[in-house]
């Protein structure tokens, strides 16, 4: 007698569990747990990283993120308005900038800003790593967020602008008091997402070099890994990123649900 769909589904589930169980058993017996523990989870190395991993590295990561986000959002607003401008060359400049910085890897942009500009112009970006974060990461974040903001502005129904204008508001007043507040509600979740991506992108700053004081999580982990000759610092750095980003991604989900409800 052929198996019913329900029986077939049950058999599939059982065999999937069986495969998983076998893999787990194999992992336990085959893996060299002592060696893994020694290289990735060394307690003494772990303790050596405190408190600097928090007081310096994590703080620096957040500072670079905030600098880049601050520059990025101002730039993004300007770029978004340029894309919606009645003057065509402004739209072209904005489009070219956005497309260029979205197609180039952030790492290349950082290298260009950190090493290209000083070589070409004999001029170093002021502010060291902070300046590089502002210009390179801020410039990239601005390009991404500009598209988000433009989409948010365009998502506000046309009638809102018409109602504002019919009450005698100038275009700038309608934009500032009526359109932008509504656009921002729409774009807060994607912008928070952008912030999370930016936190992780600050790790790319390690290619620009750093001093013990300016190290962010990744550079710090790398430096520690080199001195202690094991990989535990990378694990600690990774965990620090998780601790920072998980609450934010949770916040994004909440904001998205709230927005979905209020429509």
């Amino acid at each position: 007698m052929p198996a019913s769909p329900r029986q077939r589904q049950r058999r599939l589930r059982i065999s999937l569990y069986a495969v998983l169980g076998l893999l787990a058993v194999a992992a336990v017996f085959v893996a060299d747990w002592e060696r893994i523990r020694f290289n990735f989870l060394r307690w003494d190395t772990f303790l050596e990283m405190f408190p600097q991993v928090i007081s310096q590295a994590a703080v620096n990561t957040l500072v670079y993120t905030l600098i880049a986000f601050g520059v990025g959002i101002v730039l993004a607003l300007i770029l978004a308005f340029m894309r919606l401008a009645p003057v065509a060359p402004l739209r072209w400049i904005s489009t070219v900038y956005i497309e260029a910085l979205r197609s180039v890897p952030a790492l290349v942009t950082i290298l260009l800003v950190a090493y290209g500009i000083p070589i070409a112009f004999q001029w170093r970006i002021p502010g060291g790593l902070y300046g590089i974060a502002a210009i390179a990461l801020g410039g990239v974040a601005g390009a991404y967020m500009a598209e988000t903001i433009r989409a948010g502005i365009e998502a506000v129904p046309r009638g809102q602008r018409e109602a504002a204008r019919s009450l005698g508001m100038r275009p700038s007043q309608a934009m500032w008091w009526i359109i932008l507040p509504q656009a921002f509600r729409i774009i807060v979740p994607p912008l928070t997402n952008e912030f999370v991506l930016l936190i992780k992108d600050t790790s790319l700053l390690y290619v620009a070099g750093s001093t013990p004081i300016t190290r962010e999580l990744t550079s710090f982990g790398r430096a520690q890994a080199q001195t202690s000759r094991n990989a535990t610092p990378y694990i600690v750095a990774a965990l620090a990123y998780v601790v920072i980003t998980i609450p934010l991604t949770w916040l994004v989900r909440r904001l998205e649900r709230r927005n979905a409800r209020s429509r």
């Binding site: 129904p157 009638g159 109602a163 009450l167 005698g168 508001m169 007043q173």
Partner: protein
């Protein structure tokens, strides 16, 4: 003699190849209520939207209380404060409470202080029976309540005239009455009104004059007693027979 509230001469409006308004002449006098009726696509809403320049006329002139708003140098924003507009979709600002919906333009455009704007808002909410919803957000209102709040918002600018663009077409049938009541009261107070509507009962009762539009032209106009009862044109007759 004072200028008419609205005076339109040979108004044309095209959207690309689409010739929506094909030569409209009309006058609306102070205190007059004019209802504009006609089949959809006849250009009624476009005509109304030209009156406060939400649409730019292709040619022709529009005088608001004698001021030419089709003049490129005209201060359209200033003229708009004298013209209240009510939309089919209400267009309340969803991020603001009812009170803030009514005060924001008073404060930002007319420069009224907060306390005065609030007082005027309260008077107008009282007028439309919405004072108890003063702190509510639009999302928590019914369609009829939203439209009454939108009317109060327009009134709070102390306009000389009001334009209504199918104000009850987006409402559930049981909510139409409360909005029409507000409009009826407004007409009774002598407000100059131009109303695009499909509510023939309202037009018959409240309008001083009804205009029938079709294919971008005013086919005929007259007092409700004449136009609705004894239309001169075959097209008017056919339209009325379809909807009455």
């Amino acid at each position: 003699m004072t200028n008419p509230a609205i005076k339109i001469d040979s108004l044309h409006k095209s959207f690309g190849d689409l010739h929506v308004l094909r030569g409209i002449d009309l006058e609306v006098h102070e205190g007059e209520v004019v209802c504009v009726i006609g089949p959809s696509g006849s250009g009624k809403s476009t005509l109304l939207r030209c009156v406060n320049r939400l649409e730019d006329p292709t040619s022709g002139t529009i005088l608001i209380e004698g001021e030419d708003i089709t003049d490129p140098d005209a201060d359209v924003d200033a003229v708009r404060t004298r013209i209240g507009m009510v939309f089919q979709q209400f267009n309340l600002f969803p991020h603001l409470t009812v009170l803030r919906n009514l005060t924001i333009a008073q404060r930002k455009v007319l420069g009224r202080p907060e306390s005065e704007a609030r007082r005027i808002a309260e008077v107008n909410l009282e007028r439309v029976g919405m004072i108890d919803k003063i702190d509510a957000y639009p999302a928590h209102l019914s369609g009829g309540q939203m439209q009454r709040a939108a009317i109060a918002r327009a009134l709070s600018m102390n306009p000389d005239m009001m334009l209504f663009d199918e104000p009850t077409s987006a409402l559930d049938p049981e909510l139409v009455g409360e909005v029409l009541d507000v409009m009826r009261a407004l007409a009774g107070e002598g407000m100059t009104m131009m109303v695009v509507t499909h509510e023939m009962g309202f037009a018959r009762e409240v309008a001083d004059r009804i205009m029938f539009m079709d294919e971008g032209l005013v086919v005929e106009e007259g007092p409700p007693t004449q136009l609705l009862v004894d239309p001169r044109h075959e097209r008017t007759r056919r339209f009325l027979s379809m909807i009455l």
